[in-house]
């Protein structure tokens, strides 16, 4: 994290910045780098934890907020809010509503008997995403250039334009969701069994499912509102954690949160620095990095595992 804060298109000396020896370094650290790194951590945590939660909720290893269309729904919600020039809190809340509607659609369409089948989930996600993007482009055509630019950046997924105030709001939503999911982690293990088994082991499965569902959607909403569509983090982080620690959610949920946070900080640091000394002298959106890493991993997963 300290490395991430000291690295960037303008290299700064950590010591100077904290003690205030260098005005410029101090300003960069506290007004640009710190909020950005914090936001990366929160968004990474939100995406990875909610990915793990969705995988349990749908009993399917391919679940991820981006692939399922939950992020798409959230993006539509936040784009609507941008279109109406609402405050960031409203962007988050509308994103949450969008994420919830997306999840309800998925439940409604893809619910077969017992387990959710991969084909139906993926198709629902693809179609829901397509629908959301059509609406987003529709809205995009009706707003000013500046707002259109903001919408474009939302779609790619980036962590720029961060203030500490916004970080606070995101932190509230994300940490709330994270805490709830961590507390529910033991019971989430039973979500992976059939409904009847969970019931006969003394779990009120419907209530549990609704709470997990809302917490995860809340996290995705806040993450998308703050940083746009950052894909695949929710997919592969929980899988990596599972490979190392096993399937128990008591470890999976918190470890996914932490690993997701660390991963996105690194990915964002990469995004900020990879092109800085080239002729382009620009910063990449972090969504580019996660998709470049995540999409091939997703294909490997799809190929290797017997997941249907």
């Amino acid at each position: 994290m300290i490395f991430a804060m000291s690295t960037g298109s303008e290299s700064i000396n950590m010591f100077d910045a904290i003690t205030g020896h260098s005005e410029k370094a101090h300003a960069i650290l506290f007004s640009a780098r710190l909020p950005r790194v914090l936001l990366a951590a929160l968004v990474g945590m939100a995406l990875a934890t909610s990915g793990g939660a969705f995988q349990a909720l749908l009993r399917n290893p391919l679940a991820d907020p981006f692939i399922l269309g939950v992020s798409g729904g959230a993006a539509l919600g936040s784009v609507l809010a941008v279109g109406f020039r609402l405050h960031f809190i409203w962007i988050s809340l509308l994103a949450f509503v969008g994420a919830t509607i997306a999840m309800l659609c998925i439940f409604w369409i893809a619910k077969g008997r017992g387990r959710f089948r991969s084909t139906e989930l993926l198709l629902t996600g693809v179609i829901f995403n397509a629908f959301c993007f059509a609406l987003i482009l529709f809205i995009n055509a009706m707003v000013t250039m500046e707002e259109a630019y903001q919408i474009l950046f939302l779609l790619i997924g980036n962590l720029e334009e961060t203030g500490l105030g916004m970080v606070g709001i995101v932190a509230f939503f994300v940490l709330t969701g994270f805490t709830i999911l961590t507390l529910l982690a033991r019971r989430m293990n039973l979500l992976l069994l059939s409904d009847n088994e969970a019931k006969s082991l003394g779990i009120n499965i419907d209530k549990l499912r609704i709470i997990v569902f809302c917490s995860a959607s809340l996290m995705v909403g806040a993450a998308v509102a703050a940083s746009g569509l950052i894909g695949f983090v929710g997919l592969f982080i929980p899988h990596i954690v599972r490979l190392i620690f096993g399937a128990d959610h008591r470890i999976l949920i918190p470890a996914s949160g932490l690993l997701g946070a660390a991963f996105l900080i690194l990915a964002d640091t990469g995004a900020r620095t990879v092109l800085m000394n080239t002729q382009y002298a620009t910063q990449l959106p972090v969504g580019v990095i996660t998709a470049l890493i995540g999409a091939p991993l997703f294909m490997i997963l799809l190929k290797r595992r017997n997941i249907m």
Partner: protein
Amino acid sequence: MNKILEIKQLSFSYGKSIVIDDISFDIRDASIVGILGPNGAGKSTLINLLSGTNAPDAGSILIDGDDLKSIPYRTLAKRVAVVPQMSSSPFAFTSLEIVLMGRTPYISPYGFESKDDIDIAIDAMKKTDCYEFASRNIDELSGGERQRVLLARALAQNPRILMLDEPTTFLDIKHISALKNTLLKLNHDGGLTIICALHDLNIASSICDHIILLKDGSIEAAGTPDEVISRPIIERVFDTSVHIEKDPTTGQPYFLI
């Protein structure tokens, strides 16, 4: 003898088709009861109703005199445990993790298992002869091994009543014989009441004290194996001709197609 379960005028339907049609019976404490009948007779549905997983449309189920409807999930899970026909999970838990899930009703919702819980789980695995694969993933096990793990999970709930849904479906004769012995031992040593949906009349005849024969959601016959497994009853219920003999050593009836 005490009645542990009293079933009164129970009915249940999926949509318009009536699966369980106004049935009543009692189950004695510490008995082994077989629920038999042709495919689609309502055996699994009856197990789901008795275990509280499905709520009946009409009628009532009393456990030790308490109405099933009024018992919270957690409390019920301490009295009734179910061994499902099969269990699958998209992510592999180890056998021990699966068995520890049986301790769910005893652990605080936010807590971890205590040493006692782990000891109880290990003890249950030893009873069902599956402790040797405690650390193996559940999806690497064969059908018979997996079922022993699920049985251990049910025992870890420390129930008064154990229900099994067609436990012999995926087993070969060696495992069926082992399962029979395990169930008889649990019933004899621990006084466990066992309710078992079965399709094999001979297995039912060899372990059950009492048999309930279902057809189209109604009770066709009920009683001891001797009373129920007779040629006219079986031919009527299963709609096929059979031949019934007495086992020369145990005296129990067995049938041939």
